[in-house]
């Protein structure tokens, strides 16, 4: 399964390998086929709600027709959600606030 995927992806990537990171993706928005490489660069922006409306539209258009990219986006999103749910696991020691306050406000009146 993985091997097949890789081959397919490699052939996609072959279509566009020279775009620089900061190139404005909206430049390509008039093209019929969205650019896979460009799309991958926008993925994090969409994931982090940092994408412009044009970038979002561009991305949406792309993943609607591209299963591997839809999967990548879904996995990244699932990981982000899991981090938010599972990595907030430390309780503040009960005495910490009091210790801080007493250090700051002793004799401050």
């Amino acid at each position: 399964m993985q091997k097949k995927w890789d081959t397919k992806i490699v052939s996609y990537m072959g279509l566009s390998s020279t775009n620089s990171f900061d190139e404005n993706p909206s430049k390509n928005s008039s093209e019929v086929q969205p650019d896979h490489n460009e799309c991958l660069k926008i993925l994090n922006l969409v994931l982090d709600e940092e994408a412009s409306p044009e970038e979002q539209e561009y991305f949406k258009k792309h993943i609607e027709n591209c299963m591997p990219y839809y999967e990548i986006y879904s996995v990244d999103k699932a990981i982000k959600e899991m981090i938010r749910e599972k990595c907030y696991d430390r309780e503040v020691p009960k005495d910490l606030i009091d210790q801080i306050k007493s250090k700051i406000f002793q004799g401050a009146e």
Partner: protein
């Protein structure tokens, strides 16, 4: 953030700002401190130190701006200056290398990660948490700031004193590394990819 004009605070205002704007972030601060130091006492010291500095330098906190970002910046600086020196953390990542890597084949590499949504969702918290903890501190930090604390890229740039482009590339690299670790876990656990 650091170039902000000095603000004038009355004693009452100082105390109110501290209580209402600084202290409510103590949970996030402690969690961040623990994930930087992996030690409860160090995390406690780091948070305490951050709050003492925040109060002492409250005039440089611009009223009405994001207190959480300001506090995180102080905590991060305290960690680098006071803790990192004496800790056993490996040396800083060479970001030049990271960025040139990012601008070439690393972008393509993302999509070869064969993790599936179901696999990720089946993982219990420990796997995600351990994978995050296993990352180099600079990569760990961007994921914590972005995914756990929900900071925007411009806020992260200010907290970390780096350009937004570097925030983006570091985050991208961090996520790829995290996925590699998760994929390793998944393999060990015998998850199927198909």
């Amino acid at each position: 953030m650091s170039e902000t004009k000095r603000q004038s605070y009355s004693q009452v205002e100082k105390e109110r700002t501290f209580e209402k704007e600084f202290l409510p972030h103590i949970d996030s601060m402690y969690n961040f401190a623990y994930r930087l130091t992996f030690d409860e006492d160090d995390a406690k010291d780091l948070v305490q130190d951050t709050y003492l500095k925040a109060y002492r330098f409250i005039e440089s906190f611009e009223k009405g701006t994001n207190a959480k970002a300001w506090l995180f910046r102080i905590l991060k600086n305290s960690f680098i200056n006071d803790f990192r020196k004496r800790s056993k953390e490996p040396s800083k990542v060479d970001y030049q290398e990271v960025e040139s890597f990012y601008n070439s084949e690393d972008v393509d590499r993302t999509i070869t990660t064969d993790l599936r949504v179901e696999t990720v969702q089946d993982m219990i918290g420990d796997e995600i948490s351990n994978a995050l903890n296993s990352l180099d501190v600079d990569f760990r930090t961007v994921i914590i700031l972005c995914d756990l604390e929900g900071f925007k890229y411009d806020e992260m740039a200010k907290i970390l004193d780096i350009p937004i482009g570097t925030v983006r590339s570091r985050l991208h690299r961090a996520r790829n590394l995290l996925k590699e670790r998760l994929r390793d876990y998944a393999k060990k656990m015998g998850y199927k990819n198909s």
